[in-house]
Symmetry: C2
Amino acid sequence: MARESKTKFAILGMLNQGPKCGYEIKKELEKSATFFWNESYGQIYPMLKRMVREELATIEVIAREDQPDMKIYTISDKGTEELERWLKLPADPHPVRNESMLKIYFGANTTPGMVKTHITRYRDRMSQQLRDIEDQQEQLDESAEEALFKKLSLRYGELLSEAIQTWCDEAEKEISKL
Amino acid sequence: MARESKTKFAILGMLNQGPKCGYEIKKELEKSATFFWNESYGQIYPMLKRMVREELATIEVIAREDQPDMKIYTISDKGTEELERWLKLPADPHPVRNESMLKIYFGANTTPGMVKTHITRYRDRMSQQLRDIEDQQEQLDESAEEALFKKLSLRYGELLSEAIQTWCDEAEKEISKL
DNA sequence: GGCTACATGTAACAAGTTACATGATTTT
DNA sequence: AAAATCATGTAACTTGTTACATGTAGCC
């Protein structure tokens, strides 16, 4: 992945919403962006350090008794500029890798019985996701303006899960015909 | 990515359809699996070598004048077993990273005007994809049994592109309200 | 009494991209 | 005449995952 790390921008974007610690960055990313983004601590913590070094953010260390120091990061002017620079650039389409589909594809040639299992599993995963999304949608505070993207993000997950479910239904029928 | 490489299985699955050279593996993957899988030559060629070493495939070298030797790989019994072992395992959901969505998400907080641009671009990409898919669907030989998954794969791409287009339309409207 | 959430990190390792290197043949 | 396709590969580099290490606080 000799390609500019997106982790930096994911963090920059999160910090742009307000000062945060590494843990919060990860949690909020999970909450609001699960359907299209993910970062691991193994990426976040080292990147935050690097970003302070590169002056994209400042760090404030809060000492706590019997617990590790909490480190609050704040985006700098340079960081804001960097974020905006990236925002102006067109997104490059990230290559997809969907293991479920790969197994279904190859399974058709080898163990046709297995294919149904994978399709069923895939559909079940989508149903579960859909239920989770609906729960979250109910809990959503419609009035909050900040919730707009949270709402749109849930809707994104909803539409995708539904589309995949539809595909699973269709695929199952087609395969049954054989 | 200290996680068992899927590249091995992608290649194994391709070779299971018949002996192939590295170039063909890549091309056929692009043709039939673009919507859910991708491999680069930088992954394929070294992996093929390793697979011969591990006796998952055998190699046949065809000498050609003025052109590099062509190397045809054939899956071995051990390779078939390995493929089937993997097929039985449940797929692990691969983490998503969709840069378009990330930009749209952060853009809402920073440069609202930019967001529309990204949404438009994203929708345009999907429209183009949809047109490509339709072209390919027309060229499809319905009678060929081998074409079943090719057909299903195109349908998968179609459903996903449509879902994303729908999302773009909705998102644009919601954002315009602000 | 046990699980989950909070909070930070590192080291080992593997995976994956891109650019480079090379050149014939076929199509437009 | 140029562009695309066929065909193989490597090296440099970065990204990203997982397992480990550590411990408190709060909830059920």
